[in-house]
């Protein structure tokens, strides 16, 4: 069988890629998407752990994570829509009020 560590490696790489995507992208929407990527990487890691320890709790957690992620995505998108309505832009560079 495929050792869980391989899956874990994939999860780690996925997470770091998600982080990079967050920093490289400039619009709010894509940054939000990269957050989803990070969440998924976390899910993968959980499952790898569940497999390696033989406990099914890992899958339960994954289920919950997916559910919460869905709820979060809904709210997040609603907020982004509001921001877009007000500022007419979702470029993060332009979404700042501080003069620092």
């Amino acid at each position: 069988m495929i050792p869980p560590s391989a899956f874990f490696a994939v999860a780690v790489v996925l997470f770091v890629l998600g982080v990079l995507a967050f920093f490289v992208k400039k619009d709010l929407l894509t940054q939000f998407m990269s957050v989803e990527v990070m969440l998924n990487a976390g899910n993968l890691a959980f499952l790898a752990l569940a497999k390696s320890l033989g406990k099914a709790e890992g899958q339960v957690i994954v289920l919950f994570v997916i559910t919460v992620a869905a709820a979060e995505a809904v709210i997040g998108l609603a907020i982004i829509v509001l921001v877009f309505r007000q500022r007419k832009t979702i470029q993060t560079d332009e979404l700042k009020d501080l003069k620092g």
Binding site: L20, F23, L44, V60
Partner: protein, 165 residues
């Protein structure tokens, strides 16, 4: 055989995320992620978690990303703006990313010791999952449904208002 599938799926998953980073078109980004999440679902299956795999494809790839696509279509952004990332910042981020990578590898090394893993107990994976959900994690389960309701109402309240009148 399993290794081949694993590599293909992993490649797809990571590759599409990489492609997402490189692409500048928002719709493309979203679609790449759909691909990524789907292959992730496959990976879930390889990990003896069929229910999770199914939920992943249904909810994540199928619902959440579609929501994103709706949002993209609503914003109707034309083209993309030039990327103005400073070289220094890029280098810094890349460096930090490498660092994080290393750290996480180190962290995981102890936990996931490359063992073959334990085979799941008999009785079916999904049945066991259900058993957990409705006994040990019942409380969390119910809260989650409330959460979804709250998210629904909240989204409506936030974005349901029309501009102007």
């Amino acid at each position: 055989m399993a290794w081949t599938v694993f590599f293909i799926l992993s490649f797809l998953c990571i590759g599409s995320v990489a492609a997402m980073i490189l692409s500048r078109n928002q719709a493309h980004n979203a679609l790449f992620l759909v691909l990524s999440f789907s292959s992730l679902g496959g990976l879930f299956g390889l990990l003896d978690a069929p229910f999770a795999a199914a939920v992943q494809v249904l909810v994540y790839a199928g619902a959440i990303m579609v929501l994103f696509l709706f949002a993209i279509m609503m914003f109707n952004l034309r083209g993309e703006l030039p990327v103005r990332v400073k070289k220094a910042r890029l280098a810094l981020t890349a460096g930090l990313g490498m660092f994080l990578l290393a750290e996480l590898f180190l962290a995981g090394r102890k936990l996931v010791l490359g063992g073959a893993g334990v085979a799941p107990a008999a009785g079916g994976d999904t049945a066991r999952l259900g058993h957990f959900l409705f006994s040990d994690y019942l409380y969390a389960f119910e809260i989650t449904s409330l959460l979804i309701l709250a998210a629904l109402v909240g989204a409506l309240a936030l974005a349901g208002r029309k501009e102007g009148a």
